[in-house]
Symmetry: C2
Amino acid sequence: MSGILYGVGVGSGDPELLTLKSVRILREADIIALPAETAGDSIAYQIAVQAVPEIAEKEQLGLSFPMIKEKEQLKTIWEKNAEQLRKKLIAGKKIAFPVLGDPCIYSTFSYVERLLRKQGFRTEYINGIPSFCAASAALGMPLVQGNEPLHILPGRIDYERKPEGTLVLMKAAKQLKEMKAALAAWNMEGYLLERCGLEGERAYTMEELPESADYLSLIIGKERKNKENT
Amino acid sequence: MSGILYGVGVGSGDPELLTLKSVRILREADIIALPAETAGDSIAYQIAVQAVPEIAEKEQLGLSFPMIKEKEQLKTIWEKNAEQLRKKLIAGKKIAFPVLGDPCIYSTFSYVERLLRKQGFRTEYINGIPSFCAASAALGMPLVQGNEPLHILPGRIDYERKPEGTLVLMKAAKQLKEMKAALAAWNMEGYLLERCGLEGERAYTMEELPESADYLSLIIGKERKNKENT
């Protein structure tokens, strides 16, 4: 059992957002796991290969993560993917699994990693820039300052309760209207970031909100500040 | 007004966590702003110079950010620092200001950046790996999966209310006992990360918690999972 599986964060789109460590791990890997059937279908791979073109020459292992919500089916899928990775790990291979954003935050990688680690295999998380940090930089403003809390919400949100500080709604495309209304009711500023760092990137204020948005969208809601206090 | 000020995220300690973009911006800069009187006093600079040694040969501009809480005094300090940066920007200089973690998240940089942007100067946020991501990777586990919310709390915490999902308490050294008791009451797992990525890095479970911890400490609290569900 001398192989190792790395979840390699590649950031949100700009290949320059890869860390030096992600670049090194991709270079050193024997196998690139594709979080999709083919390289063309994986956004994470497409970002990684721009930063480290030589990964195109490496052995590739296509995994399959269909969009399924049923728990037992999901477990079967993770186990099937883990089985494919396990064979390569037993053969002593170094596997790099490119992940959008950071592998510690809402990554598909973490499910197969948990399974393999429990079985005694070596795994490692290699950080990447989370999408909400990249979005904040694209807007040219801080996400949080001083003692403001930061809440990252992956699709669900309690509209009954105004959050303190800054909130980020991930996968925001399905809740554009609800969020617009809530942010207005809470007197918060809001921004929609669509395809941050990717082709077709766009930023909108809540006032300019379109009718629909890309799947890779997030909304940042911020408390309005007294103009004097920055 | 052709100069530009960059807040350059350098991650939490490991120089390999700098992004390719942070490395490029540091290399191209005319001036390195030190978020401390001298280079030796700035942890961010010490990380940056390991990744990009040539910055030691560049012009350095020492800024001063004393630990003060009084609002009017703080504004005077930011304005004084902004004034120093402004002179260089008017002279057309590219200034890189190294920042621990990510400049969008609780950075001192953001206060001077806000002032200068309002005055019409060009500023840019260059992302870095946030400390809580680096801590999660050091623990070898995800911060959040699926539909779990993530709450980043910069020192204040509402002990009356169990948070949903994962919480990260920044600057946790002052609240070790309170957090230990709260996480136990909420039946959550907890981890203390001290000096993540720096010399003297240590990780503790809540059961092993020391009496005191370094200023650069954070606590991660996570919901316990059904063992079957990863």
